[in-house]
């Protein structure tokens, strides 16, 4: 077997996996197009319809090119101050949750890991609410010091504590106990909901939006002032996570094998935990807990392009952005002039998907 006779085997190695690679490339393009369309609809559609050509003129004006002549001031105001921050936030939130979900699933080597289900979003939300309510009293100086970054920073810390806790609880002897991971998530979610409920009760009306904003998520009321600091955090998170592609692939072989392949396992795990907490925390600080994006999106990408993180990570970021943009459109339009919480829409898509995964895994277990 060591004598390498001239191969008569069918496909040359370059042709192997060609289908998957091509599907991966197509997927990335399609997701980018979907995100682009979502952005366009997000800006043009609403109680005040704005033609794409007007939007284009306004965008040119915003970056200092052109005057947007013939476009009403109201329209300019709506695009610049209401819809633009909202779609930008939607893109970042979707991208951060998609990439974080994909990373968590690789990190725990289990595809049921999701920032919402395992309580990382809840940790971030609780810390953000605590910062808002206690920011006028106990945490006043810290809040002043951090300024606009106070909320995402607090949420980052809250999410990080949740990641560390779940990792410590669910990991025994280099193996992750899935049941413990999910149950720890149930406990973390319950604890955070109780904490948020208590803090909302303490808070006055000017401090806090209602409980549903935090537990079901919404992009409504996004302004540049609130969106930009969070978006900065999320962009750092997304770019950082994308740089872990190769290492995440190796981690799927197990930590020992990843080390043997030259991966600095502890450093990669630390980066993955920090960047995930950064992205999920910032997303939660800006728009509350938006569930299931991190679960559904990486699964869809893997179904099409396979489990290679060189496609899964960018694909999840793009598809996450497209999905949140789409879900936000549904949230805005389905009960107009009122608005559904975004989390209601994502849960309506995600919860049945989660059930489907459980049923699929159950039938696989029985077969095996």
């Amino acid at each position: 077997m060591a004598e390498h006779a001239v191969s008569t085997a069918a496909a040359p190695i370059a042709a192997l996996g060609h289908g998957r690679r091509r599907r991966g490339h197509i997927l990335l393009v399609v997701c980018a197009v979907l995100a682009g369309l979502g952005t366009l609809f997000g800006i043009t559609v609403g109680p005040l319809g704005i033609a794409p050509s007007d939007v284009f003129a306004i965008l040119l004006k915003s970056v200092g090119l052109g005057e947007a002549q013939g476009v009403s001031k109201v329209k300019i105001g709506v695009v610049e101050n209401i819809r633009m921050p909202r779609v930008v936030l939607a893109i970042c939130v979707g991208g951060a949750l998609g990439a974080s979900g994909a990373t968590l699933q690789g990190f725990f080597r289990n595809t049921l890991a999701d920032p919402g289900l395992v309580g990382i979003s809840a940790g971030g939300a609780l810390a953000a609410v605590a910062m808002i309510v206690l920011g006028t009293t106990t945490l006043f100086e810290l809040r002043q010091l951090l300024g606009a970054f106070a909320l995402p920073s607090a949420a980052f810390l809250g999410s990080l504590v949740a990641v560390a806790l779940i990792y410590q609880l669910a990991r025994i002897d280099r193996r992750v106990i899935v049941a413990t991971m999910l149950l720890a998530g149930v406990a973390a979610n319950a604890l955070a909901t109780a904490g948020i409920g208590y803090l909302t009760f303490l808070a006055d009306d000017t401090q806090l939006r209602d409980l549903t904003f935090w537990t079901l998520g919404s992009l409504g009321g996004a302004t540049w002032a609130t969106a930009l600091p969070a978006c900065a955090f999320m962009i750092v998170s997304i770019i950082g996570l994308l740089s872990l592609q190769r290492a995440m692939n190796c981690l799927l072989l197990g930590e020992g094998d990843a080390f043997a392949l030259g991966v600095n396992v502890e450093a990669v795990k630390l980066k993955a935990a920090l960047l995930t907490a950064l992205g999920v925390g910032a997303a939660t600080a800006a728009c509350g807990i938006v569930g299931f994006i991190g679960l559904v999106v990486p699964h869809l990408v893997r179904l099409i392009a396979g489990p290679d993180h060189r496609y899964v990570l960018p694909g999840s970021a793009l598809l996450g952005a497209a999905l949140v943009l789409g879900a936000d459109l549904v949230a805005r339009l389905s009960v107009a002039p009122a608005e559904l919480p975004l989390g209601v829409v994502t849960a309506a898509i995600g919860a049945p998907f989660f059930f489907w995964l459980l049923v699929r895994d159950k039938s696989r277990t029985q077969a095996g």
């Binding site: 799927l252 197990g254 094998d257 043997a260 991966v263």
Partner: protein, 252 residues
């Protein structure tokens, strides 16, 4: 200057008990070395120390006179590959994708063409060509084991830019899931790689295979190395009796 890989009085303590107790051993390049001994004798622990995966609590581990800890994980990965006991991969990669992961430490250093040639060599060496496009999760245990061995070969396969570095292939019970045919084929492959100058180190249980194919055997008992040398000299009926606590001398 020796190019050997060696443990010098290495100890590993777990739960205040030494599971490796001042073990010393030397494996030379160009030789197929084998760790033998009863269950719990410290073979896998010594193997993990040798691969760099665990650091000894006392004593040292050296690769070509250099302390193992001084070699970066990345540089180490370009000259030594490890086949571990239990694969944990649960994601549906294709077989050639798994083997391609062996090229990770060479990212940006070798061309795509070189990588593809090497993956093809590795597929052939383990007779996996017909499975190259299969989902790894649909393979049998023995087929999976061969995939991971092929991945390890791909990791350190010599290529035009680097033919001189000594390759180290470390395998922990690589035949545990293989049938007779592939067991023999793997032994021949390992002996052949050693003849080409690679250092091959394996943990093996089947003493008959060791006698037939290995150049060098290291005998473990109770966390210590008790003997080492040519298989015919070391694996005497009396030595086997005392190492494995048998009732009578055991001739192979």
């Amino acid at each position: 200057m020796t190019a050997a890989i060696e443990l010098r009085e290495a100890s590993v303590i777990r739960a205040r008990r030494p599971i490796l107790n001042q073990a010393s051993l030397v494996c030379q390049p160009g030789q197929f070395s084998v760790f033998c001994g009863p269950n719990g004798a410290g073979k896998t622990t010594a193997f993990s120390v040798l691969s760099g995966a665990i650091k000894p609590d006392a004593g040292g581990v050296f690769l070509g006179m250099e302390p193992m800890a001084a070699i970066g994980a990345d540089a180490l990965a370009r000259r030594r590959a490890v086949v571990a006991q239990q694969p944990v991969l649960t994601f549906p990669f294709l077989v050639h994708e798994v083997i391609a992961m062996g090229r990770t430490p060479h990212e940006g250093k070798t061309s795509l063409k070189t990588d593809q040639d090497i993956i093809e060599h590795a597929l052939k060496a383990l007779e996996l060509e017909h499975l190259a496009d299969r989902n790894y999760l649909t393979l049998s245990g023995g087929e999976r084991q061969r995939v991971h061995i092929a991945r390890a070969l791909a990791q350190i396969w010599p290529h035009d830019q680097d033919k001189s570095t000594i390759r180290w292939l470390l395998l922990d019970e690589p035949t545990s899931a293989l049938d007779l045919k592939y067991e023999i084929a793997l032994m021949r492959l390992l002996a052949d790689l050693a003849r080409q100058g690679w250092g091959v180190v394996a943990v093996l249980h089947d003493l008959r295979l060791v006698l037939e194919y290995a150049d060098h055997v290291i005998l473990f008992k109770s966390g210590k190395t008790v003997d080492s040398g040519m298989p015919h000299d070391v694996l005497t009926p009396e030595a086997i009796q005392s190492t494995y606590d048998l009732d009578a001398p055991y001739a192979l």
